[in-house]
């Protein structure tokens, strides 16, 4: 049996360094198995998150040889080198070792106005055709591993943007609501003015790392951008609204429907607490 060297980042918010662990290779293992063997035999206090070990829960996100990946779905025999480097997700603050503080995502989740269905059929249930929900079902595959958030340069390289940018995960969430046949809320102005949809310049890095193979950029973000543009700049839609005296939902109105909003005036880093509506 050959040996493998795992180069694992150890440390906390005050800093850290790489520790090397040498282990035997075992057939069929994934990176998470090796991390577990390190915990069981060499470093019981090595921190990492995991749950299902089957690519279904999205807990064990990390950067393996620099690529944001799920540790449970990365087979050791797909990695070419005999030294493998594992680092925590860069975009989020470190808690310890491979564990990061992903609360940014939970703060963002609360800023999205929830699903609000229209009236059901007379029998009290809803009807939807499969063809009409295929696209939204693609978005519902999201396991919230936050790898797309991690890789997105808008927040990976520019901490301050976290105030103004929901990130790919929540564009997928917004797209799933926008394309849900039963939903009635208009979130377009909110996306444009507060959730930073325009910041995305469609480099498709998020799509590349998505373990669920959701076509985030092509199927979620670009259609959202088109809808926002239609709502904001289409002269015919503008004229239609004037004639029918029907205004689209403003960003402020949409925010009122959300469970919480981050105070938009705060510029001192990431607000720790959301302002409850």
């Amino acid at each position: 049996m050959s040996e493998v060297t795992m180069n694992v980042w150890r440390g906390d918010s005050n800093g850290g360094n790489f520790e090397q662990y040498k282990l035997e290779r075992v057939e069929g293992e994934v990176v998470l198995d090796v991390v577990h063997r390190i915990q069981a035999t060499l470093a019981p206090d090595l921190a990492c998150r995991w749950n299902c070990k089957a690519g279904k829960c999205g807990s064990c996100s990390a950067e393996i040889d620099g690529k944001p990946s799920l540790m449970c779905m990365t087979r050791m025999d797909t990695l070419p080198n005999d030294t493998i480097t594992i680092t925590p997700m860069k975009t989020f603050p470190i808690i310890k070792d491979l564990v990061t503080d992903v609360s940014f995502n939970y703060v963002m989740a609360r800023q999205i106005p929830p699903f609000t269905p229209g009236d059901p059929e007379p029998d009290g249930t809803y009807r939807m055709q499969q063809v009409d929900i295929d696209r939204a079902q693609e978005f519902h595959k999201c396991i919230e591993c936050f790898l797309c958030q991690d890789v997105c340069h808008v927040i990976r390289d520019h901490e301050v943007n976290k105030l103004y940018y929901a990130g790919p995960r929540f564009f997928v969430r917004l797209a799933s609501l926008e394309m849900h046949p039963l939903d009635t809320v208009d979130r377009r102005a909110l996306m444009r003015e507060y959730l930073g949809l325009g910041f995305c310049n469609i480099t498709k890095c998020c799509t590349e790392v998505c373990p669920e193979h959701i076509k985030i950029t092509d199927n979620a973000i670009i259609p959202l951008k088109e809808r926002v543009v239609d709502a904001s700049y289409d002269p015919i839609a503008w004229l239609g609204r004037k004639i029918r005296r029907k205004s689209k939902t403003t960003a402020e109105e949409a925010y009122e429907l959300a469970p919480a909003r981050v105070a938009p005036t705060s510029l001192d880093g990431i607000p720790a607490t959301a302002v409850e509506n």
Binding site: G28, V30, Q39, G58, S59, P114, T125
Partner: protein, 603 residues
């Protein structure tokens, strides 16, 4: 380091819910909608609970595919599947209310697969007479948790993530009114004061070596309730799911959804025989196909053909696979073959079973559109648990409510596939209502006993001050070997007695555990605090298995291979009394005559 009162911060709520899976979240939605302050505590991140792993679907007699389905048929299937050991009232409420709960999920945004006329599609599953499982491909649990998660978020429910509860606490009159725990990121202690506590902690599978369960399934709720003096029932009834992955070793035990068989997958042994035809039990003979031709026809024609034996209840299929492997007719890695590639086209497989396709391709290098899977039994589900009032989910100790896998009675001796997700939402809601009623009638403020909190906290911290002790990982591995080898799918008295001795030895070793590093996000220490629960439930399972001298559902005794009609009338109840662990048979609730009549056509 000795913990003192000033080391502990505290927070007060009307209702504390332990567990953020389907049951916990559904309960929280109920208590919050009643205007009660509600805290949900979970060991992992919000949205990662084990519910996410549920694949095949949620059982409810909507009648969208077979209009002749109804709650009575679902009730009858559930109780026969549970080998008549079920709490009839729970099974009744479950069958009656599941359709409303599924429709409620849809109204909250869930997108189930559709029928041609635009309603919720339903798929066939083991033990269900009609196609009854509402589903989203093979990732129904993910859909459910995400729907409940965002519903809870929209209601402003507070979720305390990565928080481990160590002990439930009583007030001076002995009612449960809070809990002590710690934050996993910081290791800091937290005391929750609450008028009512709902346990929604899920299962116990992590005590076995090969399990479909995640690290969280350490039986915390079972252990907390038992320690608090609550009655526990049917702890011997553990379900081994017939189809877990067997290779590579690193994923051994990982679930392969029953939906594979529901959608036409067949089981074969190494001699290419569809062996399930040799294992049809008397109870199901009249309704099960006895030729391959009839079984194949059933997939498209439920009216003139009887169902395939591949879809017998899980206990039957798991035992059959076990027997085939023991008889030397297993697959190369010690399972049997499960093949869907001969029935569905590659496109259909990728559409209906997308995560199974990805799981085998990415983890085992097997393309299930071309090749059979290798599968074998894996520890999957705990039927037993906290004894509750069927209508309110109140445990026998005031202040404790329980819902989902941690509660016992609903599934009897064996759970049907798809009945777990429906259990979560039906009884999660009812636990929320029960706890809300209880909290609203609670007079004064919850005042948990600080002495108990300090005792639990100091016990949890002990491994830090232990010199040259044992690693918690070694203890865990020893426990898993013990349960896997001695308290597995087929049990005998000698092995169960050996297991009890081993568990007692492991309990002694608990006190000698040592951990290194600090208390901030320290998995070794976290495991050390999970081990007491794991040992406690292992002991309960083993004691229950020793006492139930018969085979019934998920509990199979080699030395008592058949069912004993007398034992079919009792639950084995375990409880702590005067610091003694006692176990005794107590009669089941008597089913009313109109429900009994549903079973009278069989002999």
């Amino acid at each position: 380091m000795t913990v003192v009162e000033s080391d502990i911060t505290s927070q007060t709520f009307d209702v504390l819910i332990i567990g953020a899976g389907g049951a916990g979240l559904r309960a929280a939605i109920e208590t919050r909608s009643r205007g009660l302050s509600t805290a949900v505590v979970c060991k992992s991140l919000f949205g990662k609970a084990h519910t996410v792993m549920a694949e095949g679907g949620i059982a409810a007699s909507l009648g969208n595919v077979y209009p002749e389905d109804g709650w009575k048929v679902h009730f009858r299937d559930t109780v026969r599947g549970g080998k008549m050991l079920n709490n009839w009232r729970m099974a009744q409420l479950h069958a009656q209310e599941a359709p409303d709960r599924v429709l409620e999920l849809e109204a909250w945004g869930a997108l189930f697969d559709r029928t041609d006329d635009g309603r919720i599609h339903q798929r066939d599953f083991g033990g269900h007479k009609y196609a009854r499982l509402a589903h989203v491909g093979d990732r129904t649990g993910l859909e459910m948790i995400r729907t409940l998660q965002y519903k809870a978020t929209s209601m402003g429910i507070e979720v305390f993530m990565e928080c481990k509860i160590l002990r439930l606490l009583t007030d001076s009159s002995g009612n449960i009114c809070g809990a002590i725990g710690y934050w996993r990121p910081s290791g800091d202690l937290i005391l929750f004061k609450a008028k009512a506590v709902i346990l929604a902690t899920g299962g116990i599978g992590k005590s076995w070596k090969y399990t479909s369960n995640s690290w969280e399934s350490t039986g915390d709720g079972h252990a907390l309730a038992f320690q608090a003096g609550a009655d526990m029932i049917d702890m011997e009834c553990v379900q081994f799911h017939p189809t877990g992955m067997v290779w590579p070793l690193s994923v051994r035990g990982l679930l392969v959804t029953e939906g594979v068989r529901g959608d036409g997958g067949v089981l074969r042994n190494s001699e290419n025989q569809r062996f399930m035809f040799n294992y049809i039990p008397e109870m199901f003979r009249a309704e099960t196909a006895d030729t391959e031709e009839e079984a194949d026809r059933w997939y498209t024609d439920h009216s003139t053909a009887r169902r395939t034996p591949d879809l017998l209840p899980r206990d039957e299929v798991a035992r059959a696979i076990n027997s085939e492997v023991k008889a030397g007719r297993g697959s190369p890695h010690g399972g049997v073959f499960l093949d869907i590639s001969t029935r569905l086209t590659p496109d259909e497989i990728k559409r209906k079973l997308p995560s199974m396709y990805a799981q085998f391709l990415e983890l085992a290098g097997v393309d299930i559109t071309k090749q059979p899977m290798e599968v074998g039994p894996t520890c999957h589900y705990m039927m037993g648990g906290v004894r509750v009032n069927a209508d309110t989910e109140a445990a026998t100790v005031p202040g404790i409510f329980a819902a989902g896998e941690v509660a016992g009675g609903m599934h009897g001796a064996n759970r049907l596939g798809g009945n777990s997700l429906s259990d979560l939402v039906v009884f999660g809601r009812r636990a929320g209502m029960g706890a809300a009623d209880y909290a609203e009638s609670f007079s004064g403020e919850p005042e948990p006993d600080m002495k108990q909190a300090l005792e639990a906290a100091n016990e949890a911290m002990r491994p830090f001050s232990q010199e040259n002790g044992e690693s918690p990982y070694t203890l865990q591995a020893d426990l898993q070997d013990c349960m896997q080898n001695l308290v597995g799918i087929i049990r005998t008295e000698t092995e169960l007695r050996q297991a009890l001795d081993k568990i007692s030895e492991l309990k002694d070793r608990l006190g000698r555990m040592a951990v290194n590093g600090g208390k901030e996000y320290n998995p070794g220490w976290n495991l050390a605090t999970d081990l007491p629960s794991m040992l406690s439930v292992s002991e309960m399972v083993t004691m229950g298995a020793l006492e139930r001298k018969e085979s019934r559902g998920g509990h199979t005794r080699n030395d008592f291979p058949g069912p004993d009609p007398e034992l079919g009338k009792v639950n084995f109840v375990q409880r702590m009394r005067d610091d003694q662990h006692v176990i005794q048979p107590e009669p089941l609730l008597e089913m009313p005559d109109e429900l009994k009549a549903l079973f009278e056509d069989e002999h």
